[in-house]
């Protein structure tokens, strides 16, 4: 579980320091992303409010594609919630993107398993297709410029090195200031729906 990740936060992610290397870091597929940029998206939340990925620039963003029918995804959602709670003081945003399900089914799912991060609806698979997501769950970790840096197909839980990888991507204070200056008047922490 991801909670266990935090106990082993000293684990290093050697490949994270060489982003051009797309080789996999072990038998499972935590991959340093060397592919193309991913297109920005704008999707509805569970209750129909529109949200833009671009609004999260300045934070490390974990974009997690999932579906409620996918058993590993269900387990993973609890882990993501714990990651969210533990990372409250970190410049990290978690965005869960449900792929092609009925709104009411997803709402019912999260009524039983509330989370404090954004859950968005990719109703027609347009975003998952544009991001070349062919398997669920799939997770991308974007740096503060929203460039993809890491990629995981399957359980994030099985990658204890993810925490170290996230930490290595957190922007420095100076970097954050630079990002914010490009978006005057924006306070990321106050973006509705993006805790």
């Amino acid at each position: 579980m991801l909670l266990a990740v935090f106990a082993s936060a000293s684990l290093a992610l050697p490949a994270a320091s060489s982003p051009a290397d797309s080789s996999k870091t072990g038998a499972a597929a935590l991959t340093v992303w060397s592919g193309s940029e991913k297109p920005a998206f704008s999707l509805d939340t569970l209750h129909g409010e529109r949200r833009d990925l671009a609004a999260l620039a300045g934070k490390v963003v974990l974009v997690h594609f999932f579906a409620t029918w996918c058993e590993p995804c269900i387990r993973e959602m609890g882990s993501l919630q714990r990651l969210s709670e533990i990372s409250q003081d970190q410049p990290l945003a978690i965005v869960a993107v449900d792929v092609a399900e009925v709104d009411l089914r997803v709402r019912a799912f999260f009524e039983k398993r509330p989370v404090d991060f954004a859950v968005l609806l990719d109703r027609d698979r347009a975003v998952s297709k544009a991001w070349d997501v062919t398997s669920l769950p799939t997770t991308f970790v974007l740096d503060a410029t929203l460039a993809p840096k890491l990629f995981v197909e399957g359980d994030l839980d099985s990658h204890p090195e993810i925490l170290t990888a996230l930490q290595s991507l957190y922007p420095t204070a100076a970097g954050r200031n630079r990002t914010h200056s490009a978006e005057p008047g924006r306070n990321q922490s106050q973006q509705p729906g993006y805790p």
Partner: protein, 368 residues
């Protein structure tokens, strides 16, 4: 019961008690085309918490095959403002599109369809004179769908299966893939409904668990990727199995959750051949005493039969994928096997019939 039949039955029973292995030899699952059976299938839909614009789409039995499925008359009653029988333009799947006036306080519709059906059993020992597919039919049943791609990991997996089995002909490929699906997948009781059928996701994740819409979609995808036409057939179990397989028939007249997807593969000279690897896994999981091994006689018998035969205790709705609901802005459905409805422009969860609400009942109509 005839006295002779009764005596036969007692003889088997006595033998079974004395020699359990002899009892195993008596397991029979052998569908054979015989008498037609007719059922009346009733779908009753009452929208819970009516609000705003409300409409529904109810799948109708629309597979017509002279040898095994004859849909009859469909009638409906209710308080809808408009009821229209519509047909999916690509696959011919029929549905009843129902619209209520805004603010209708108790929207309801009841749809009754009569369907005649019987067992299928294709003699695969020698090709017959079945008509070939047209070019358009062949293309339709070889192409990928939204959830069943026939390239990438599906093609790679299919190639490996075919190569490992040294399968050359279409029938060898079809059977090798059938055996692979039977041996490598698993039925998961907790899967909602019949599953989703996201074949690439299953193969990439290595999680080959699910239900019929997953396992038989996997069969269809792998078979199409091998260049052999195949299709899912979405339907519903309506009466018990006459072979005593509890897992392969309707448990009661209430068939609200008895939807079941089967598959067919097209083999030149034989025509459309019934296959159902998902039901082999269902027998393994559910047939008493449950969790049967793959060599259990009940499993062996079902596995042998379900490549080339199936029982006529099930009504086929359609063979459609990527179905657009007319009048709805909701994205296409992967398949149409459950009633669908919108309330205030939001599609309801068809896998939650108690909240939706809908109920299906099936009654066999005895010939007079």
């Amino acid at each position: 019961m005839q006295r002779r039949d009764f005596l036969k039955g007692t003889a088997v029973l006595s033998l079974a008690a004395a020699f359990p292995s002899a009892a195993r030899a008596e397991v029979v699952f052998a569908p054979k085309p015989g008498a037609w059976r007719t059922v009346e299938l009733v779908t009753k839909l009452e929208l819970d918490k009516p609000e705003g614009k409300m409409q529904a789409w109810i799948p109708l039995p629309s597979v017509k095959e002279d040898e095994w499925m004859r849909p009859g008359e469909t009638q409906w009653t209710g308080n809808a403002a408009k009821v229209e029988r519509v047909r999916d333009p690509k696959y011919g799947a029929e549905m009843l599109h129902v619209t209520w006036k805004d603010g209708e306080s108790a929207p309801v519709i009841q749809v009754t369809s009569r369907v005649a059906m019987r067992d299928r059993d294709i003699d695969l020992s020698k090709p017959g004179k079945a008509k070939s597919l047209s070019d358009a039919e062949r293309k339709l049943n070889l192409e990928g769908t939204e959830l069943i791609p026939v390239d990438g990991i599906v093609k790679q997996t299919s190639d490996k299966i075919v190569a490992a089995a040294n399968a050359k002909s279409d029938i060898e490929k079809a059977r090798a893939i059938y055996d692979w699906v039977v041996e490598n997948t698993v039925r998961v009781a907790s899967t909602r409904g019949c599953g989703i059928g996201d074949v690439a996701s299953m193969l990439k994740s290595g999680n080959l668990g699910g239900k019929c819409a997953d396992l038989n979609a996997l069969y269809v995808g792998l078979t199409r990727a091998a260049g052999v036409p195949a299709r899912d057939v979405y339907g519903i179990r309506v009466i018990p199995s006459q072979f005593g397989y509890k897992s392969l028939g309707a448990g009661s007249a209430n068939v609200t959750k008895a939807q079941h997807c089967r598959a067919e593969v097209f083999l030149e000279g034989f025509g459309w051949v019934p296959v159902d690897p998902a039901d082999v896994r269902k027998v393994m999981l559910e047939e008493p005493p449950a969790n049967l091994g793959i060599n259990d006689p009940k499993v062996v018998a079902a596995r042998k039969a379900l490549f080339g035969a199936w029982e006529g205790n099930w009504v086929a709705y359609n063979t459609a994928h990527d179905v657009a609901l007319p009048g709805s802005s909701h994205p296409k459905l992967g398949f149409l096997m459950y009633p669908q409805a919108e309330r205030a422009s939001l599609l309801l969860d068809c896998l939650d019939p108690d909240k939706f609400r809908y109920a299906l009942t099936a009654t066999e109509v005895k010939s007079s």
